[in-house]
C-alpha cells in the first residue's frame, strides 16, 4: 500500500518539474515577445501619462505610480495578440501541472494518514512532504491572487528540492513515541507550520525577484513584488503565531510546561520575531524595497534553520 502511495509522491515531483520547465519556457518566450512589443507599448503609455488633464476621456484616474500597469492582466492589446499564438496555451499547462503536482501531494498525504493513522508530523519525511504541500498551496493562492507566474521560478525549485529530499528519506512508517501521540494538536501544529512556511516561501520568492528585478526586464512593476512579499508575510505571520501557540499548548499537555527554550522552539521564535521585525521596519522606518526584501530573505533562511534545526540543534524535537 505504501509503495503504491510512493508512486503518488514520485509523480508529484515529476509534475512540479514539468510545471517549472513549462513556466521557464513560457516566461522566456513572453519576454522575447514583450521586448518586441515594448516599443509600441511604451509609446502608448507615454501618451496616456502625458495628457493627464483629460482630453482622452473626461474622467482621469491618476495613478500615483503610472508605471504600475498591472503585469499580466493589463498587458496592452498588441502584446496579447502576439502571445496568443504560443505562450498563452502553455500558460494553462504550466498552471495545470502545478495544480496536478499539488493534488498528487494532497492525495499522498491523505493515503499516508490513512495508513499511519496520524498527521504528517512523525519524521522528517512527513515534514518535508507537508512543507512542499504548503509551499505549493501558498504559491497557487498567490498566483490566483496576483497572477505573477514569475514567482514559480523561485518557488518551484524550492518545492522540487524538498520533494526530492522527502523521497530520498524513504517512505517507511514508524511507530510514534508517546509524546507524539496527541494527534489533533500536533496535526494542527504541523498544518499551520506548513501553511505559514509556504507563505514565507512565496514572500521569499517575491523578495528575490525584487532584488534581481533590474536584470529581469519584467512588464510588471517592481512595487508589485514588494507588495506580494509584504502580503505573503502578513499571511505567514499570524499562521506562524498560531503554530507556535499550538506547539506551546501541546508541550503543556505532553511535558507540563508550555515553553522550555528548546532549540527548535527558539528557532521558531527567532523566525517569528524576524517577521515581526520586518513588519515594524515597514511601519516604523518605512523600509520598503531592497532592505525589506533582504529581511524577507533572512526570515525565510530562519524558516529553513527552524525546519532543519533538529539535525544540528538537538533538544526535545530531535527525532529524525
Amino acid at each position: 500500500m505504501i509503495n503504491l502511495a510512493k508512486f503518488l509522491l514520485d509523480a508529484s515531483l515529476v509534475f512540479i518539474l514539468l510545471a517549472l520547465v513549462t513556466n521557464l519556457v513560457l516566461l522566456s518566450a513572453s519576454r522575447r515577445v514583450s521586448r518586441v512589443a515594448a516599443a509600441k507599448t511604451s509609446a502608448k503609455v507615454a501618451v496616456g501619462a502625458g495628457v493627464g488633464g483629460g482630453s482622452l476621456s473626461d474622467t482621469t484616474v491618476v495613478d500615483a505610480d503610472v508605471t504600475d500597469a498591472d503585469a499580466e492582466a493589463a498587458t496592452p492589446p498588441p502584446a496579447k495578440a502576439t502571445q496568443k499564438a504560443t505562450p498563452l496555451n502553455m500558460a494553462s499547462f504550466g498552471t495545470g501541472f502545478t495544480i496536478v503536482g499539488w493534488a498528487l501531494l494532497t492525495a499522498y498525504i491523505i493515503v499516508r494518514m490513512a495508513i499511519t493513522g496520524h498527521g504528517p508530523f512523525s519524521n522528517m519525511h512527513e515534514f518535508a512532504v507537508a512543507f512542499v504541500w504548503g509551499i505549493m498551496a501558498a504559491y497557487l493562492v498567490a498566483f490566483w491572487k496576483f497572477k505573477v507566474r514569475m514567482l514559480s521560478l523561485i518557488v518551484l525549485p524550492v518545492a522540487a528540492c524538498l520533494d526530492f529530499y522527502a523521497i530520498s528519506l524513504g517512505v517507511g512508517v514508524e511507530t510514534l513515541v508517546p509524546a507524539l501521540q496527541n494527534n489533533v494538536l500536533l496535526t494542527l501544529h504541523v498544518g499551520f507550520a506548513m501553511l505559514s512556511y509556504g507563505a514565507a516561501c512565496v514572500s521569499f520568492a517575491a523578495a528575490i525577484l525584487y532584488l534581481i528585478y533590474p536584470r529581469l526586464k519584467l512588464k510588471m512593476s517592481r512595487d508589485k513584488l514588494d507588495e506580494i512579499g509584504y502580503k505573503s508575510a502578513v499571511v505567514a505571520f499570524p499562521l506562524m503565531t498560531i503554530m507556535i501557540l499550538l506547539g506551546a499548548l501541546w508541550a503543556k499537555t505532553a511535558w507540563g510546561s508550555y515553553w522550555s527554550w528548546d532549540p527548535k522552539e527558539s528557532a521558531a521564535l527567532v523566525t517569528w520575531i524576524l517577521y515581526a521585525g520586518f513588519m515594524h521596519a515597514r511601519v516604523a522606518r518605512g523600509w520598503r524595497g531592497t532592505r525589506s526584501a533582504w529581511l524577507l530573505i533572512i526570515g525565510f533562511a530562519a524558516v529553513m534553520v527552524a525546519y532543519f534545526g533538529n539535525y544540528f540543534l538537538g533538544g526535545l524535537h530531535s527525532y529524525r
Binding site: Q181, E227, V235, F237, K252, S257, Y258, W261
Partner: protein
C-alpha cells in the same frame, strides 16, 4: 492599521498639531544648559518609549538573544545557579568550545534565558510596547470617533489615490448622491460641509494592533508569574508503594497503585505508558485516574504529568525521634566508574546531606554489596568523601549517625512531573488575544476616502498606503461614480 496621519498633512489648518513646548530662557542659569521642567523631562522619556525606531531595535535585539540561546548549548535549568553544577557544565563547554567557553560563559551566553541582559531586553520590550500602544490608542480613538473630515484643496491633487469626475448636478446634490451610495456600500459617512464628505470602513481595525500589542504584554506577564510563583518538581513514586508528599508545603500526597508500559514489538520503543495515581489532600482522596503522557491529572491548579519510569529502590530515612526525613523511590540512573554499581541519590536539604544508594549491577558479583542488598553512602554537600556508609538487606534498617536508613524494597517507579502554573490561564488569554488582534489588523485595514464636489467636478482622494487591492477598489468606485452621474463622454 498602517496608515499614518502624516499622509494627510496638506490640511494644516484643521490639524491638531502638537504645540511646541515653550522655550524657557536660560539667562539666569550659570551653566548654559537648556532648562527643562519635570513635565518635559517625563515627556522626553515617554517619547523614547514610543519611538518606533527604538522599538524596532529592541525587537531585533530580542531576536539576537533568542538566536544565541538557540545556537549555543544552554545549561539545564537550575544548573547555573548551583556552583557545582556550573563548574561541571563549564568543563563540558571548555571541552567543546576551548578558550571561548570562558568568554561565552562570562557574558551569560550559556544561560541566556535567565541572564540579566536578556531580562533587561525583555523589560525594554515590555516598556516599548506599552509606550507604543498607549501613544497609539488616543490616535486610534480619534480616527474612530472623530476622524478628520475636511482636507485642503491641495490634498485632492497630492494624495496617493485621486480622481476627478465631471458632474452635471449641483455640488451639494452630487455629494448627497455620493453619500447615499457609499452608505449603501457599507461605508461610514461623515459630512464635512454641504459639498464635501469623509467616508471610511473599518475605522476600528487599528484596535486590532493595539490588542495584539497588549496581548504580548499579557503573555510576558504570564511568563513572569509562572516563573516566580509556579511550582515545578518531579516526584518519583514507587509503584505499589506508600503515598509520598508532593513538595514541602502543598499538603498533597501521591500514590501510584499501578503502572503499565506497552512496547512496540518490532522496535522495542515504548508506545504508551500509564500510571494509576491517587492524590490525597490531607486524608481525603481528591483525584484518582490513569495518567499517560498526553493526559495529565489536575487538581486545584496542580497538574500531574507522566514523565518517565524505570527501576528504583524504595527507601525511607528517619531521624532518632522517628520523624520521616525522606520516603520514596530512588531511581538509579548512574553507573559507577568500575561498572559494578548502579547509583542513585537524593538529598536531605535540612541536614545538608546527600545520600547515595548503590546496588550491584545485575550479573556482577562483588564482595561489598551482595544481591538483594543496598549500599548507603552519606556525603556532606560539597564534599567528595563519604562520611558514613552502610549495607542493608531488603526489608531491614540500619542506623548510621542518628539516621535510620531503611531499604524497603526494589521495583518499578513512575516519575511524575508536578506543575502548578498560575500564569497559564493568562498565557492562553494573551495568546487568543494576540491571534485575534493580529487577524483583525490584517483583515480589516482602515480605508478612508475624502470626496468633494467643486466647480462641476467630483473630487475623490485617499492617502492610504499603496495597495493593489485598495487601488482596484478605488478605481472601481470611480467608475461606479461615473454611472451615478451618468457622464457618458459628451
Amino acid at each position: 492599521m498602517t496608515s499614518s496621519d502624516t499622509d494627510i498633512r496638506p490640511d494644516q489648518t484643521s490639524a491638531p498639531e502638537a504645540t511646541p513646548l515653550p522655550r524657557q530662557s536660560s539667562s539666569t542659569e550659570t551653566e548654559d544648559l537648556p532648562v527643562i521642567s519635570m513635565g518635559q523631562f517625563f515627556q522626553r522619556i515617554y517619547q523614547v518609549t514610543y519611538s518606533k525606531t527604538i522599538g524596532l531595535i529592541i525587537i531585533l535585539l530580542t531576536a539576537v538573544f533568542v538566536f544565541i540561546g538557540m545556537m549555543l548549548q544552554q545549561a539545564p535549568s537550575g544548573t547555573w545557579a548551583d556552583p557545582a553544577g556550573r563548574d561541571q557544565f563549564m568543563s563540558m563547554m571548555h571541552a567543546k568550545y576551548g578558550a571561548w567557553a570562558t568568554l561565552l560563559g562570562g557574558v551569560g551566553f550559556f544561560h541566556v534565558f535567565s541572564s540579566i541582559p536578556f531580562f533587561v531586553v525583555m523589560a525594554a520590550l515590555a516598556i516599548s510596547i506599552t509606550g507604543c500602544t498607549s501613544h497609539r490608542i488616543p490616535q486610534l480613538w480619534q480616527q474612530w470617533r472623530n476622524p478628520r473630515v475636511l482636507v485642503s484643496d491641495r490634498f485632492f491633487t497630492a494624495a496617493r489615490y485621486q480622481a476627478s469626475i465631471p458632474i452635471s448636478q449641483k455640488d451639494d446634490q452630487a455629494i448627497h448622491v455620493v453619500q447615499d451610495k457609499l452608505k449603501a456600500a457599507h461605508y461610514r459617512v461623515k459630512r464635512g460641509n454641504d459639498t464635501s464628505l469623509y467616508a471610511d470602513k473599518y475605522s476600528w481595525g487599528g484596535f486590532g494592533t493595539a490588542a495584539a500589542h497588549l496581548s504580548f504584554i499579557i503573555i510576558m506577564v504570564a511568563f513572569v508569574v509562572s516563573g516566580l510563583t509556579g511550582y515545578q518538581g518531579t516526584v518519583n513514586v514507587f509503584v505499589g508503594g506508600d503515598a509520598i508528599p508532593v513538595g514541602d508545603k502543598t499538603g498533597l500526597t501521591l500514590q501510584a497503585t499501578d503502572f503499565n508500559a506497552v512496547y512496540d514489538d518490532a522496535t522495542g520503543r515504548p508506545l504508551d505508558y500509564v500510571s494509576h495515581l491517587v492524590l490525597k489532600d490531607g486524608d481525603s482522596v481528591v483525584a484518582e485516574q490513569d495518567v499517560r503522557v498526553n493526559s495529565p491529572m489536575s487538581y486545584q491548579g496542580f497538574a500531574f504529568h507522566q514523565n518517565n519510569y524505570g527501576m528504583a529502590v524504595d527507601v525511607t530515612v528517619a531521624d532518632s525521634a522517628g520523624n520521616t526525613l525522606f520516603s520514596g523511590a530512588v531511581p538509579q540512573p548512574y553507573t559507577s566508574q568500575d561498572n559494578k554499581f548502579s547509583i542513585g541519590q537524593f538529598t536531605l536539604p535540612d541536614l545538608g546531606l546527600i545520600v547515595q544508594v548503590l546496588s550491584p549491577v545485575s550479573g556482577t558479583t562483588n564482595a561489598d554489596i551482595g544481591p538483594g542488598q543496598l549500599g548507603f553512602a552519606i556525603y556532606r554537600d560539597g564534599e567528595s568523601d563519604a562520611m558514613a556508609t552502610s549495607v542493608v538487606d531488603q526489608g531491614t534498617s540500619a542506623t548510621v549517625r542518628d539516621l535510620s536508613l531503611t531499604f524497603v524494597r526494589e521495583g518499578q517507579f513512575t516519575g511524575i512531573m508536578v506543575r502548578q502554573d498560575p500564569g497559564a490561564a493568562w498565557m492562553w488569554i494573551g495568546s487568543i488575544l494576540l491571534v485575534v488582534g493580529m487577524t483583525v489588523t490584517f483583515t480589516f485595514r482602515h480605508r478612508r476616502l475624502w470626496v468633494r464636489a467643486q466647480d462641476g467636478k467630483l473630487l475623490l482622494a485617499s492617502a492610504d498606503k499603496e495597495d493593489s487591492g485598495f487601488r482596484e477598489h478605488f478605481n472601481q468606485l470611480v467608475s461606479q461614480a461615473q454611472t451615478w452621474f451618468s457622464v457618458r463622454s459628451k
